[in-house]
């Protein structure tokens, strides 16, 4: 897709995102806001997994860290704009730390390490009642107000979330287009070759986790204000798997993949509600069929359509890349 067409498409999508909630009820606006928030969380995991190739089953726990930090601070009188950066910073630090196991273990083993971390965070949130409210959670989390612009009603909060999403997406675009983005992809494709070309693969691995976690934290800060109530069950392993599904369904390693993936995972069950009791079955079958036939996700469907009409070279499957010493 050329740059001009891409810009037009992005502007059309933003216009649609601005216009879509107008005239809709609170529930539809709530679902659309959730889609934006989970797109941010999936964007972060897409950087860690899709671009840098490091599996993580802990994205929901970073949403939890962002959500609880923001909730605790806003409940004690801080403005969201002051509380959110602290939540995001906490995620950066913890994410950096979680990256260390990735320096020693890969693949399934790394998945289990991150899974254990997710469980650990869940248990801390549940058991440390004096701080987190335990299973009762935290209630009455305020939404931000900016002078005359209050986000207490659902539509203003949607637009506020949309603005944050656009800023987060622009920042992600800058990262993946920068030399850092190239280094992340090099880490995914051939870490030993990358290291031999001067890429500090340890630092890049840690940064992939840390930055991906920051996006989880930002999504958490928003979800706390959207729901105005948080409890540990909202950030369990099932939610990490859900975010992973968003990345896989949308297309791991593609910039727009998380938006599509979050759209499918959040919006499709709502659309299928007319089928009543069957909607989850239909949803699950659709996801399974898609991942079997288009493993590169929804973006891959566009790629397949394009390849039918425009011939272009693809990476050969018959030549094995080497340099896999360790």
């Amino acid at each position: 897709m050329n740059a001009w067409l891409r810009r037009v498409l992005i502007l059309v999508l933003i216009a649609l995102a601005i216009g879509a909630p107008l005239g809709q009820g609170n529930y539809i606006i709530y679902v659309m806001t959730s889609w934006l928030i989970f797109s941010i969380a999936a964007m972060g995991l897409n950087l860690t997994l899709g671009y840098a190739g490091q599996i993580s089953l802990a994205q929901a726990s970073f949403m939890a860290i962002g959500a609880y930090t923001t909730a605790l601070l806003t409940l004690s009188g801080w403005h969201w704009l002051a509380a959110m950066p602290l939540g995001v910073l906490a995620c950066f630090v913890v994410g950096f730390g979680l990256g260390y196991p990735a320096l020693r273990v890969k693949g399934h083993f790394l998945a289990f390490v991150t899974l254990a971390f997710n469980t650990l965070v869940f248990l801390v949130l549940r058991n440390e009642e004096w701080l987190t409210g335990g299973t009762y959670g935290l209630v009455g989390i305020p939404r931000p107000t900016f002078g005359l612009f209050s986000t207490m009603r659902s539509l203003p909060f949607y637009y506020f979330t949309l603005m944050v999403t656009i800023i987060a997406a622009l920042a992600m675009w800058g990262i993946v287009r920068s030399p850092w983005g190239r280094a992340f992809r090099a880490l995914r494709e051939n870490p030993i070759r990358a290291e031999s070309l001067g890429v500090d693969t340890r630092r890049i691995t840690l940064l992939a986790f840390a930055i991906g976690s920051m996006y989880g934290g930002l999504a958490g800060a928003l979800i706390a204000s959207l729901v105005q109530f948080i409890e540990p069950g909202s950030f369990g392993l099932a939610h990490s798997l859900r975010i992973l599904l968003m990345v896989a369904v949308g297309g791991a390693g593609y910039f727009f993949g998380p938006f599509l993936g979050a759209g499918v995972v959040i919006l499709l069950p709502e659309i299928l509600r007319f089928t009543e009791g069957y909607y989850l079955i239909i949803y699950a079958v659709l996801v399974i069929v898609m991942l079997i036939f288009v493993p590169s996700g929804m973006i891959g469907i566009w790629g397949r359509i394009r390849d039918r009409f425009i011939a272009r070279p693809v990476a050969r499957a018959d030549l094995q890349q080497g340099a896999q010493l360790k």
Partner: protein
């Protein structure tokens, strides 16, 4: 004589009970093209990986331009001006030829932060174009590296090793699996780069014709030890070398 660019001193490496490298020492001086040959299992690749920090030697030191680099990580060694190619294909298949080349140079430009906030090409477009042109890959600039032929990927691998302007490049079987036309092209480009930049090469290779026509000096390894050293002509007529290759 001037300080050697690469100095290898008494390197030893064992895998379990098998001694792969037995106290190998040699020097390589600026502008030299040293060939490292030997039968299969003679310890060439193990020695290479010990020099380049991919394996930790059991004993011995490696100096680059007088600095002890033993145990340094490959990325740090690369930043000190040591490039390498790999025996097997080692490009980034889902990136274009241009991106592969830029990646090979970007870590030598600016700081970590400037690489995040600076331009996408790390101001390397002109250098990358020159390198692409030098290895005559111009027509493949925007092509996915993974879609190139085997020989073209080998050529790209070499171009990546030279992108950061290294003082020393270690080439691990650059001719392996490359057809005769591409091989002549690769040999000619390596010789031209050495002549233009005075870069020092160490080449592991099984293709004797390639080694003898490219290298200025050759070291022969057998069973992890140096058994001969000399000019290509001296090595060709060395009876110990002939015996080692023929199993005599």
């Amino acid at each position: 004589m001037s300080q050697p660019v690469l100095s290898v001193r008494r390197i030893e490496k064992s895998f379990g009970g098998i001694k792969a490298v037995r106290g190998v020492s040699f020097d390589v001086h600026k502008g030299e093209i040293l060939g490292l040959i030997g039968p299969n299992g003679s310890g060439k690749s193990t020695l290479f990986n010990c020099i380049l920090g991919q394996l930790e030697p059991d004993a011995g030191q490696v100096h680059v331009n007088g600095r002890d680099v033993s145990g340094l990580r490959p990325s740090k060694l690369n930043r000190l001006g040591v490039g390498r190619t790999f025996q097997q294909l080692a490009v980034f298949p889902q990136m274009s030829v241009f991106d592969n080349i830029v990646l090979a140079g970007q870590e030598h430009r600016g700081t970590m932060l400037s690489r995040l906030f600076g331009p996408s090409d790390a101001r390397l477009t002109a250098d990358a174009e020159r390198m692409i042109s030098f290895f005559r890959l111009n027509h493949l600039r925007g092509t996915l590296a993974g879609s190139l032929s085997y020989g073209q990927q080998k050529l790209l691998d070499a171009a990546m090793a030279f992108m950061a302007g290294p003082a020393l490049v270690l080439l691990d079987e650059p001719a392996g699996g490359v057809n005769l036309t591409m091989l002549a092209h690769l040999r000619e480009r390596l010789a031209a780069y050495n002549a233009e930049h005075g870069t020092t090469f160490v080449v592991i290779e099984h293709n004797m014709e390639f080694v003898m026509s490219l290298c200025t000096r050759v070291i022969v390894l057998a069973e992890g030890a140096v058994i001969a050293e000399g000019t290509p002509d001296e090595i060709r007529s060395n009876q110990t070398v002939i015996d080692a290759y023929l199993g005599g």
